[in-house]
Structures are given as structure tokens and as C-alpha cells.
């Protein structure tokens, strides 16, 4: 077990390193005209060179990277080009928003997806199974922004204009901490109230994939020899399904969840954009429009590290679920 954790940890660190190289190269090696954008149209070549020098963009690439990674290791991801805010502080401000969206949605989709997948698999070809399958397929085929637009249109716009303002429009309300001066609301209920639509949007789209996935996994496990043994022992069908089948069926689902974390991180971008929430996605989109490289690279790096760390945790859960993997 220790060996297993150790090996995973080393691999994880290696991946983080490679990701940092990849993201850094992607942006700093590619031709860019940040200086020109910043200097404005009438800038002279000298001004541009000066700006490039000030941003360190005239140094050799490896030097830039070394500098970047050294500071990153000390918890400093640099400053944005325009307002000289530290990237770390931007991320600190934005991360709670994205995490709120991501965690809530993930919990919701796991419950919906795994639950409906089990219902489907236990009674295959029943009406319930078919209905869930059709629903899952429709949501699975639905891009996040289409579903989000529809929810906004019907549940917010139509309802509100009909006099039922059940759902708030847009914007994020913090659960803890100082209330934003421009937005005095905060606390658990307002937080949740504002997040319901984003959660539902993101969760439905992803849950559909999990319904299909869990169903397939359950069906496969239910045909295993040890399920036959369990039935031959005379234990209740409920116990066969929940104790024997689910335990094994969840292992591939957990693995898939690990893979989907990266997609989840991307999924919040669209959701943030739709529901006007200023999380990591929104910030990086703004940075992208402005070619604000330190912010883009910083956010990408932090999100990737989050994915790698979460994947490590997923691996540990996996090892708990299946004692055989502890051998490695």
C-alpha cells in the first residue's frame, strides 16, 4: 500500500512538472504581441522593446521558465500585465466560485447518474430503464450552454416575467466571508439559491454520461460469477445489488470520475460565463482576451494541479474499493 501511494505520488509530481512546462511553452513560446497590445497602436519599436524587457519577455525561454517555476514554488505566480494584481490573489478570489460550482455539481451528478444507472441496470429493458436511457441520451447530447440557456430562458426569464421570481438571475453570492460592497448578500441560503441553476445545468449534462456508464458497469458486474455465488448463498436481492454488485461496479465509475475532473474544470467555464459568475473560468477568459499571459498560465497550472491531486485521491479510493490493486 505504501509502495502504491509512493509510486502514484511520484507519477503525480512528474505530471505536474510536465504540465507546467507544457502550459508555459504553449503561451510563452508562441508568437505573441502583448507588448503591442499594451502599448497601443502608435507605439514605437523602442516602446515595445521596453515593455518586453519589463515583462521579461526578451530573455531566453528556459530562463523565463526557470524564473517562473522558481517563483511558483514559492507561492508566487507573478502579476497580471495590466493592473499589477498578483495572480495568486486573483486565483484566491475566484477559486471559491469555481469550487462551489464544481463540487455542488459533482455531488449532484454522482447522485443522479449513479442512482439512475443502478435503477436502469437492476431492471433492464423495463419501462423505467428505457425512460432513463432516453432522458440520459438527450441530456448527454445537450451542450452545457444550450441547456443553460434554456433553463435561464424558462426558469428565470419566463417565470420572472410571469411574476414568479423563483430563481435569481446571475452572479455569485459568497457563503462565508466579507460581503461584497456591491452585493450585500451572503450566507448559505443565498449562496445555494444562486447556485441551483448552474449546478443543475452542469450536473444534468454530466449525470447523463454516468447513467449510461453505471448501467453498463452494473450489468457487467451482475453477470460475474461471484454474483451468482452471492445469489446461491440465498441472500436478499437488495444485498446482492448493493453489497456485492455496486462495490465492484463503482470502481470503473470512480476511475471515470477521475478522468472527468479535467472536463469538470472546463465545464465551469461555460457555466460561469452563462450565469455571470466571476470564477476561475471567467477570469481566464478575460485574461485570454487581453493576452494576460501570467494569469492564463497561473490559472491553467493551478487547475491542472487540482486535477492531478484529485486524481491521486481517486486512485486511493480505487485501492480501497478493490484490494487487488494494492499489490502494485
Amino acid at each position: 500500500m505504501i509502495r502504491f501511494i509512493f509510486v502514484r505520488l511520484i507519477t503525480g509530481l512528474l505530471v505536474v512538472f510536465l504540465v507546467s512546462v507544457a502550459t508555459f511553452l504553449m503561451f510563452f513560446a508562441a508568437p505573441n504581441d502583448v507588448a503591442r497590445t499594451m502599448a497601443g497602436k502608435a507605439a514605437t519599436p523602442e516602446t515595445i522593446a521596453l515593455i518586453n524587457h519589463r515583462l521579461g519577455l526578451d530573455q531566453p525561454l528556459w530562463h523565463q521558465y526557470g524564473h517562473f517555476i522558481w517563483r511558483a514554488l514559492h507561492g508566487d505566480l507573478g502579476y497580471d500585465y495590466y493592473h499589477q494584481r498578483s495572480v495568486v490573489s486573483i486565483i484566491k478570489g475566484a477559486a471559491p466560485v469555481s469550487l462551489s460550482i464544481a463540487f455542488g455539481a459533482a455531488i449532484l451528478w454522482m447522485i443522479l447518474g449513479v442512482g439512475s444507472g443502478i435503477i436502469s441496470a437492476v431492471r433492464p429493458r423495463s419501462f423505467m430503464d428505457r425512460a432513463l436511457n432516453v432522458l440520459a441520451l438527450i441530456f448527454y447530447s445537450m451542450p452545457t450552454f444550450v441547456l443553460g440557456s434554456m433553463l435561464l430562458f424558462f426558469l428565470y426569464f419566463k417565470l420572472t416575467s410571469a411574476g414568479h421570481a423563483w430563481f435569481p438571475a446571475a452572479g455569485y453570492v459568497p457563503w462565508f466571508g466579507k460581503p461584497d460592497p456591491s452585493n450585500p448578500q451572503h450566507g448559505f441560503w443565498p449562496w445555494m439559491h444562486h447556485l441551483i441553476l448552474p449546478w443543475v445545468t452542469l450536473a444534468l449534462v454530466t449525470a447523463a454520461a454516468y447513467t449510461r456508464f453505471t448501467r453498463g458497469s452494473m450489468l457487467e458486474v451482475l453477470s460475474e460469477d461471484y454474483i451468482r455465488t452471492a445469489r446461491a448463498k440465498g441472500i436478499s436481492e437488495r444485498r446482492v445489488v448493493f453489497r456485492h454488485a455496486l462495490r465492484s461496479a463503482l470502481t470503473p465509475v470512480v476511475t471515470q470520475f477521475g478522468i472527468d475532473l479535467a472536463i469538470l474544470a472546463g465545464g465551469t467555464v461555460v457555466t460561469e460565463q452563462l450565469f455571470g459568475m466571476h470564477g476561475l473560468g471567467w477570469n481566464s477568459l478575460t485574461a485570454i482576451t487581453n493576452q494576460d499571459l501570467p494569469v492564463i498560465v497561473g490559472i491553467l497550472l493551478v487547475v491542472s494541479v487540482f486535477v492531478v491531486v484529485a486524481n491521486f485521491l481517486v486512485d486511493l479510493i480505487y485501492a480501497v474499493l478493490d484490494p487487488r490493486v494494492r499489490l502494485y
Binding site: 507519477t11 512528474l14 505530471v15 510536465l18 504540465v19 507544457a22 502550459t23 504553449m26 503561451f27 508562441a30 505573441n32 437492476v122 431492471r123 433492464p124 429493458r125 441520451l137 438527450i138 448527454y140 447530447s141 445537450m142 451542450p143 452545457t144 450552454f145 444550450v146 440557456s149 434554456m150 430562458f153 426569464f157 453498463g216 450489468l219 457487467e220 451482475l222 453477470s223 454474483i227 451468482r228 478522468i259 479535467a262 472536463i263 474544470a265 472546463g266 465545464g267 467555464v269 461555460v270 460565463q273 452563462l274 476561475l280 473560468g281 481566464s284 477568459l285 485570454i288 482576451t289 493576452q291 492564463i296 490559472i299 491553467l300 487547475v303 491542472s304 486535477v307 492531478v308 486524481n311
Partner: protein, 313 residues
């Protein structure tokens, strides 16, 4: 006897099926799958529309990029709803929504298929190499995979498009970059289990070379997972492309693109006045991905009837 038919009979009864190759069998199963056949028909229509977009629009006398400020907008300068002149209404610039949808099919489907094709080709080659040679080749490719899979897809894709500039080619390459990894993973896994099979050893004992084993023995066994993954990946890439467009980093204007059309409509909440601007492109997008997914499911069930075998209806 049992109220809940669930699993296969413990010993699959032996049946002798005479003279039918794997493809013939798959086709036979596919032909019975009505849903998949309908999906295939819908797909065919959409693809035909994409191919013959110019013909269709000239026959209807519509230009997707013509901004009819006079007749295409109402007195307040707002877009027109669906009518006889404009079947699906007009957009904020007075352009015909139907004509743009027809052209958008070209972009959406073209990019979806092309990017998937590149991703699958790269994934198959790398997966094959990693799985067959193992060792250092495998380690390098595996770490490469980890890196790609650790990047947040949409975020990184958007950033890449921003860096390299908006163009159809960049979009295709970016989409391919983020989707080869899963294919490589699947192929690698398949190859690792296949190479333990005795027929590979048989080939080796006949003196077959590595190239021959990879392409003559292994590749034919990978065709089914490749087709299955291809059919499931195309809709994913169509959607991701639409997402890029929605985030303002799709194909440059004024080219029609389904995601871009929705994005335009979202801007300033325009769609709250003109529902058709979101409803039709969104609907077509959902219909296309749905058809692709249904078709993909059908192909998967026909080629790899494992789940169906488990059920044994």
C-alpha cells in the same frame, strides 16, 4: 420464471452459426436496430445538407451573410420571427437564420469529423506503439497522456485558440489535441491484452516481424473499438467546437457556425426577445449530437454486443 431477467445464462448455450464473418454479423444486428437506422437517416440528411449547402441556399434565394437591414429587421431594429420569407426568422443583423443554419452544418460537422479523424489516427498509432513495445516508449506516451488528460479541456482549448489565432485549422488541431489521448488509452489497453493472446505468439513463432504483427494481426482487431470511439467522439468535438464559438473563440465572423449563432443571440440577452435565435441553432445542435450518439450506440451494440449478450433478451 424469474420476474427480473437480468444476466446471461450461466453457461452460454453453444450455437453453431454458419459462415458469417464478424462484419456480416454486425450488419445483421445493426439492421435490426430501428433507432440506429433512424439516427443514420437523420445523419445522412444533415451531412447532405452540409455538402449541398450552397445549392440549397441558392435554390431558396438566401445568402447566409447578407445583412438585410431593411427587410430583415422590424421597425425597432429587432430581428424578425419565423415567417414565409424567413422560415426560421432573422438574426440581429437581418441575416436569414435558416440559411446560416444550413451553412453552419458545414462548419460544425466538417470540424467535428476532421478533428476526430486526426485524433483517432494519432491515438491509434501512439496507442499501438505504447501497447506493443511497452518499456520506455510506453512510459513516454503514458506521461504524455497524463499531461493532456490533466489539462482542463475547454479552458486550455480556449487559451490555445487565443494564442494561435482563430481559424478553422487551429480549431481542428486544438480539438484533435485534446481528444487523441482517450483513443490512445483505449488502443493501448486493447493491444496489451491482445498481445498476450496466443495468436500473436503463433505469428511470432512463424517468424512474423513486429510491423507485420502490428498491422496484420493487431490492427484488424482494433477496427471495432476505433469505429466505436470515432462515432462517439464526433459529437463530443462538435459540441466542444460549439462551446469555443459560444465563448467567442470559434470560427472567425462572419462565417455561420451553430455555436457562434447561439453566442450572438446570448449577447445582451437578445434571445429573451427572439427565442428562435437560440432555439433553432440549439435544436439543430442537439439533434445532430443526438443522432450521432444514437448511431454511435447502435454501432457499438452491433460491433460489440457485450451488453446485449449480458441481457440476452
Amino acid at each position: 420464471m424469474s420476474a427480473t431477467p437480468a444476466t446471461a445464462p450461466p453457461t452460454a448455450p453453444k450455437t453453431t452459426i454458419v459462415a458469417r464473418g464478424p462484419w456480416a454479423l454486425a450488419w445483421r444486428r445493426f439492421r435490426k436496430d430501428k433507432v440506429a437506422l433512424i439516427a443514420a437517416a437523420v445523419m445522412a440528411v444533415i451531412i447532405l445538407v452540409a455538402i449541398f449547402a450552397p445549392l440549397i441556399n441558392s435554390a431558396l434565394g438566401q445568402d447566409p451573410n447578407y445583412q438585410d437591414q431593411v427587410n430583415g429587421l422590424d421597425v425597432n431594429g429587432l430581428p424578425l420571427g419565423p415567417s414565409g420569407a424567413h422560415w426560421l426568422g432573422t438574426d440581429a443583423l437581418g441575416r436569414d437564420v435558416f440559411a446560416r443554419l444550413v451553412y453552419g452544418a458545414r462548419i460544425s460537422i466538417g470540424i467535428g469529423i476532421l478533428s476526430t479523424g486526426i485524433a483517432v489516427a494519432v491515438g491509434v498509432v501512439l496507442g499501438l506503439l505504447a501497447g506493443y513495445f511497452r518499456g520506455i516508449v510506453d512510459v513516454i506516451i503514458a506521461r504524455l497522456l497524463d499531461v493532456v488528460l490533466a489539462l482542463p479541456v475547454v479552458l486550455a482549448a480556449v487559451a490555445l485558440v487565443a494564442v494561435f489565432g482563430q481559424s478553422p485549422l487551429v480549431t481542428v488541431l486544438v480539438l484533435a489535441f485534446f481528444s487523441w489521448a482517450t483513443m490512445a488509452r483505449i488502443v493501448r489497453g486493447q493491444v496489451i491484452s491482445l498481445r498476450e493472446r496466443e495468436f500473436i505468439e503463433a505469428a511470432r513463432s512463424l517468424g512474423a516481424s513486429s510491423t507485420r504483427i502490428m498491422f496484420v494481426e493487431l490492427l484488424p482487431n482494433l477496427v471495432m473499438p476505433i469505429i466505436i470511439y470515432f462515432s462517439l467522439l464526433v459529437p463530443v468535438n462538435i459540441v466542444t467546437n460549439a462551446v469555443l464559438a459560444f465563448l467567442g473563440l470559434g470560427i472567425p465572423v462572419p462565417t455561420a457556425d451553430w455555436g457562434g449563432m447561439i453566442s450572438d443571440a446570448e449577447a445582451g440577452g437578445l434571445y429573451q426577445q427572439a427565442w428562435w435565435l437560440v432555439f433553432f441553432p440549439g435544436g439543430v445542435l442537439v439533434l445532430t449530437t443526438l443522432a450521432f450518439n444514437l448511431l454511435g450506440d447502435g454501432i457499438r451494440d452491433a460491433l460489440d454486443p457485450r451488453i446485449e449478450r449480458l441481457l440476452r433478451k
